[in-house]
């Protein structure tokens, strides 16, 4: 997967700017903040990674950019700026024109993300009919071409196949073809390879990175796998319990992780080659459990699990501290 990293294409101003995003979760008579104070920027053609464990809010952050939050989730505040245009309050019709055409998305489960009763060719062709006013006949020809681009073998036959006739990897290629059909500026990939075998995953990631690089499409990559994201992206933000706790250039996040949680994640996982170099060491554990959204602790949300916790961590939310190269970290004990 080396060498497939997407590089920034330059341009004026960021492509996507998310500022102080807050996502509300409507519970029984109570409203929780599933995500709060989340800010990040993605440049044109840049690959940006959002990393965190399940339930940390990374997926719904992506859905909010697409305008696809559904009950009981809703946008609670903040700004989402796409190419200079604020879209957080855009009407449903305006969002529809953006979706698919300028911002596209790939989901985790290729098994269920495609309509089982519709041939895959038609599902790709819909994009051309919807956004470019193509006729169905013309759109089907272009769907075949799109399948060829994602390296599906014998696309002229495959366009008539139904999703259940394709393997998981092939289905995810179809999803990529749909997402990139109209040449979007931003591709959001939500755990695109988690459901796939590792050797297939490598191919899909390479394919995605390569196609986006060729078309100058920026990527927002969402994953629980820090290694995967760091390998593919220019910059990485780490989320924990609804907040971004650290954001750095990809290489730096492994070399100099600044938040105790990031450090803990990197140290706690056995990495290939480690045992050969240093012998078997006991893994560094992060104690405790991931908090549920109904019971987020006050102050720094990592404080009950943090080895360096002090009183201030339990009461005060840490502000962002700058790190080199536009990085930030939210920890009282940094520096």
């Amino acid at each position: 997967m080396t060498g497939a990293r997407v590089t920034g294409a330059g341009g004026n101003g960021p492509l996507l700017k998310v500022e102080n995003l807050r996502i509300a979760l409507q519970g029984d008579g109570v409203t929780f903040n599933a995500v709060e104070n989340v800010s990040f920027e993605i440049g044109r053609g840049e690959a940006f990674g959002l990393v965190g464990e399940s339930g940390c809010g990374k997926s719904i952050t992506a859905l909010s950019v697409m305008g696809l939050l559904r009950r009981p989730l809703s946008l609670g505040g903040g700004r989402i700026v796409l190419d200079g245009e604020e879209i957080q309050d855009a009407s449903a019709a305006e969002m529809r024109r953006l979706r698919g055409k300028r911002v596209a998305m790939i989901f985790q489960e290729p098994m269920t993300a495609l309509n089982p009763l519709s041939p895959v060719g038609r599902q790709i062709a819909e994009m051309f009919v919807l956004h470019q006013g193509a006729s169905w006949r013309e759109a089907m020809d272009r769907a075949e071409e799109a399948l060829r681009q994602v390296r599906v073998p014998s696309p002229e036959r495959r366009i008539r196949d139904y999703p259940h006739q394709l393997s998981g990897g092939m289905r995810q290629r179809v999803m990529i073809a749909i997402a990139l059909a109209c040449g979007p500026d931003l591709l959001i990939a939500d755990e695109p390879t988690t459901a796939l075998d590792v050797t297939v995953q490598a191919e899909i990631i390479d394919l995605m990175a390569e196609l986006c690089a060729a078309k100058g499409t920026a990527i927002l990559m969402i994953s629980h796998d820090l290694g995967l994201v760091a390998n593919m992206c220019n910059r990485v933000a780490v989320m924990y319990a609804g907040r971004i706790i650290e954001s750095q250039v990809a290489d730096a996040i492994f070399a100099t992780p600044s938040h105790p949680y990031t450090r803990g994640l990197i140290d706690s996982l056995p990495r290939l080659g480690e045992r050969a170099r240093r012998g078997r060491q006991r893994l560094t554990e992060i104690s405790g459990v991931v908090p549920s959204i109904q019971a987020y602790p006050a102050g720094c949300r990592f404080n009950p699990r943090c080895p360096a916790v002090t009183d201030i961590c339990r009461t005060t939310v840490p502000e962002a501290t700058s790190l080199p190269a536009d990085g930030i970290v939210r920890c009282h004990h940094h520096g």
Binding site: R96, L98, R99, L130, Y162, H164
Partner: protein
Amino acid sequence: MLLVLVRRVGNMVPTLAAVIALIFVLFSVIPGSFMSGLGDDGRTMDPAVMERMRKEMGLDQPLLERFVKYAGATVVGDLGTSFRTREPVTKLIAGRLWPSLKLTMAAMLVAMAVGIPLGFVAALRPGSLIDTASMVGAVSGLSLPKFWLGLLLMYFFALQLKWLPSFGYGDGGLTHLILPAIALGVSPLALLARTTRAAVLDVLNADFVRTARSKGMSERRVVTWHVMRNALVLVVTTVGLQFGSLMGQAVVVEKLFSWPGLGSLLVDSVFQRDIPAVQGCILVFVLFFLIINTLVDLAYVAIDPRIRYG
């Protein structure tokens, strides 16, 4: 498609065979009790008559022989001779088949034409007035005794308003059909409305609908391009099961409205101890169920590419 048909028809055979055996066991092995059971209503049977009937029914022959005879005759379409009219049962049934079919199909038409769209509309606006109203209506519809609903319809539309005839077959025209069809159709209508609503809600939560939305599709297109067919797949089974059993369920409605269908024939035959006619009617109901469900399975294969029997 042909293969599927062959397979499905093949699947019917054991079920049908089991039903024939069951009917035989019910009525031919224990007919003594069948007769004495009906003797309960005060009349006692003359032993001589009993003996004659036993002879007539061939009860003096060995069991297995009787079964082979019965099954063999049934398979070639000979349902025996009615005790009451001395006519072949097939002829009796043939005369009742069309009214029965007409009533069943009319009721199912009402159920599908109203129930499925109602369920759709309710699901697209969950929690709205129309959703709540139609679902309260549906659960009520499921709880109504058919014959009581028929009585009420009869009372209001025939006796009070005098819009429609209160019972009978008339000349076979539409006016006589309306009330019984509604009385029979309300419960499948209610069930279809509920099933459709649940199916549409299910599909609306599916991942591929989220994909469709992420493509920038309008909600109307999401529904017409991606939701409808998928929801229909989930509804088809219910349609089949309801339709298939509706002819049998019509018994009470036919009786209430004096509708000259198979249900009336069955009930009358039961009271007249006309065993061959009773057996014949049951067999027709079962056959109807199996045929309808085979057709539904074929429809299934046509709309769902994941199902490939062949």
